[in-house]
Amino acid sequence: MVLKAFFPTCCVSVDSGLLVGRWVPEHSSAVVLAVLHFPFIPIQVKQLLAQVRQASQVGVAVLGTWCHCRQEPEESLGRFLEGLGAVFPHEPWLQLCRERGGTFWRCEVTHRQAPAAPSAPGEDQVMLIFYDQRQVLLSQLHPPTVLPDCQAGATPASTGGLAVVFDTVARSEVLFRSDRFDEGPVRLSHWQSEGVEASILVELARRASGPVCLLLASLLSLVSAVGACRVFRLWPLSFLGSKLSTCEQLRHRLEHLTLIFSTRKAENSAQLMRKANTVASVLLDVALGLTLLSWLHGRSRIGHLADALVPVADHVAEELQHLLQWLMGAPAGLKMNRALDQVLGRFFLYHIHLWISYIHLMSPFVEHILWHVGLSACLGLTVALSLLSDIIALLTFHIYCFYVYGARLYCLKIHGLSSLWRLFRGKKWNVLRQRVDSCSYDLDQLFIGTLLFTILLFLLPTTALYYLVFTLLRLLVVAVQGLIHLLVDLINSLPLYSLGLRLCRPYRLAAGVKFRVLQHEAGRPLRLLMQINPLPYSRVMHTYRLPSCGCHPKDSWGALCRKLFFGELIYPWRQRGDKQD
C-alpha cells in the first residue's frame, strides 16, 4: 500500500525539526501533528510524548525528520538526521525535505527491518496530503463514526482511514496547548503555536453561566411543580388543558427551557447542537413575539381589532342564517322533505340566535381580553399563534356543534339503513362471529323493518345535505387551524444554530472530504490538498431537526374519506395522549 503522510499546512514553512504524530499501520498512514524544533534534549522529548500519550490516549510518537533548508542538505546533515532515527526508534522512519522557496518536496521512507518479500523498486511510494489542522480539529464528520475508547494505537481496521485522521487530530488537543511564548523545554510548531485562541467574552460567559443556570433551573423546577399540582388534575382544568393547544405549546417550551438551563454538561456534540438549536429557537420565538407585541400595542390597533371582532362574528352568524334559510327552501333545485327540513332548520337557527346573544354579552369585555392575550406574545410568537388558534376554535364553536349534530344524525341514519337493508334481504349481523348470517324473520318483523327502511331511505337526502354543508364548514375551520399549527411547528423545529453554522462556518459540519492534486513533477512524491466537504443544507435540516409537538394528522386520506362517508367524527389534530372519541 502507498504510504500516506498527512502534513498540516501550518507547518509547511517552519524550520527543520522532528515530525511528531501518530502512525496508523492498518491504513499505512502517518498523521503529522506538530514539528519539534532543534535544539532539544531527547529525554525531555520522550517525557513530553509520554505525557501527551497518557492525557489524550493517542499513540503520539516521533515519526521522522523535517528538513527545510536553503539548498540541498549536506552529507553531514543527512547523516545527523539519519542518526536521529537511532535515538527515536520508529518503524518506518520518514524523512521529508523541502527547499526554502521551492515548491517540490522530497520524501524518503526507511524500513529498519528488511521486508519479508523483496518488493519491486518504486513500490514503496509516498503520498503527501496537506490538511488544515484547525478546520480538521473543529469539524465533525457526518454520519459520526463511533470510534471506541481505545488504547494508544489500537484502532479497528474496519473504520475508514479518514475518520481515524479526524479522530487523531481532535483528541490531540493536549499537544496544541503550548505555544511559542511558553518557556517550556521543547519548541513545537502547530496551528496554535502563534498563540492560543481564546475570547474574553466566552470565558466570562462560561464563568457566569454556572450560577445563572442554577438559579433559572430552580425557578423552572418551581414552575413545573406548580403545574403538576393536583388542582390541575381535576376534571374541568385537565379537560381544558388537553384541548387547548396553548397549554401544549407552553408545556413544550417549558421542556425546552429546562433543557437549556439544566446544569448537566452536554455529553456529546449531538446534545450540544440540540441545546444550541433550542436556544436559537427560543430566542427567535421571543424576538418575533416582541415584534408582534410592539406592533399590536402601537397606535391602538387592539382597539380597532376589538371593534371589528363583534361585527365580524355577527356577520358570520348572519351568513349562516342565510345558509340555513336556503337549505330550508329548495337548495340547488333539490326537493327536500318539508317536515324534517323545517325541524332541523329551526333547531339550528335557534342555536345561532343563542350564539349571537352570547357574543353580544361578551362584547364589552373583548378589548380587555384581547389586550391581555396580546401580552402573552412576549412569551413567544408560537404562544400567540396557539392562542389565536384556540380563539378561532372558540369563536367557531357553533359550527363545531352543528357539525356534531349533523354527523351524529347522519351516522345513526347510515347504521340504521345498513341494518335494515340486511333485514330486507333476510340476513342479520352475527355479533358473536363478526359476520353476516342469514336469518328467518317473522312477518310482522319484516313488515315494520321494511317500513322503517323506506322512511329512513327517503329522509336520507335531507340529512345528507345538512351533514355535507356543515362538514365542509368544519373542514374549512380545521384547515385554518392546521395552517397555524404548521407555522408553530416550523418555528419550534427549525434548527437555526446548525443552519447558521453551515452558512458561516461550513467546515464545522462535514459530509466528507475532497482532494485536489497540487502541482506535480515526475519523480517527486504526489501532493494532494485535503479540504472539508460541507454538509448540504437538506441533510443539516434532516439531522438536526428539533422534535416537534407531535400534532400531525393521524389519519391517511383514505381513512379520512371513509370516516366522512360513515359519519364518524373527525379530529385531524389530536394531541398526543388523548383518548379516541
Partner: protein, 187 residues
C-alpha cells in the same frame, strides 16, 4: 501525461474525455458535456413569452408580462445552477479512494469522495433509455454486512455516456482502462 478523445452522447451532442495520469497511484478522467445550445434556449424563451403575450391580450393585465420575464430568468438560473452539468471529473487515488466532481454551468461544484474501504467493485452496468446504454458504476459495501451491496453509484451521468457500438472490449477501452486493470488499480 494527458490524452483526449471525443465521442458523441446518446442525444447526439459532442463529448470530450480527457485522461490525466499524475503518478502510478493517481489518475484523473475528465468528461466535458455538451454545452447549452443557443437554439433551444431561444426556442424556450420565445414560447414562454409568446404564451404570456397571448394571455396579456386576453386579460389586459401587464403583471403577466413581468411575471413571464421573472419566470424565464429564474428558470434559466435554476437550470444553470442545479441541472446543467458542464464537466464531470473522476479522480482515482490508490488506497485512498475515488472522488467524483460535477461542475455545473453556473460554476457550482459538487464533490463526493468514496473511501476505498467502502468500494466493493467497479462494474459496467446496462440500462434501457430508449435503447440499451452502458454506464460505469461503483458498488458500495453495506456497513453492517460486508458481503451485501448497499448502493450503486453511477460515475458519470448515464444520459451522457458515450454511445459506443461494438463489442465488450471496445466498451471497456472507452473508459480508458481495461476493466480488469481498473479493478486492480482501485484495490
Amino acid at each position: 501525461m494527458e490524452d483526449e478523445r471525443s465521442f458523441s452522447d446518446i442525444c447526439g451532442g459532442r463529448l470530450a474525455l480527457q485522461r490525466r495520469y499524475y503518478s502510478p497511484s493517481c489518475r484523473e478522467f475528465c468528461l466535458s458535456c455538451p454545452r447549452l445550445s443557443l437554439r433551444s434556449l431561444t426556442a424556450v424563451t420565445c414560447t414562454v413569452w409568446l404564451a404570456a403575450y397571448g394571455l396579456f391580450t386576453l386579460c389586459e393585465n401587464s403583471m403577466i408580462l413581468s411575471a413571464a420575464i421573472f419566470i424565464t430568468l429564474l428558470g434559466l438560473l435554476g437550470y444553470l445552477h442545479f441541472v446543467k452539468i458542464d464537466q464531470e471529473t473522476l479522480l482515482i487515488i490508490d488506497s485512498l479512494g475515488i472522488q467524483m466532481t460535477s461542475s455545473y454551468a453556473s460554476g457550482k461544484e459538487s464533490t463526493t469522495f468514496i473511501e476505498m474501504g467502502k468500494v466493493k467493485d467497479i462494474v459496467i452496468n446496462e440500462a434501457i433509455y430508449m435503447k440499451v446504454i452502458y454506464y460505469l458504476c461503483i458498488l458500495l459495501k453495506d456497513p453492517v454486512e460486508p458481503h451485501r451491496i448497499s448502493q450503486v453509484v453511477p460515475v458519470f451521468q448515464p444520459q451522457v455516456t458515450p454511445e459506443v457500438m461494438g463489442d465488450r472490449e471496445d466498451r471497456q477501452q472507452v473508459f480508458g482502462v481495461p476493466y480488469e486493470q481498473a479493478k486492480t488499480q482501485a484495490r
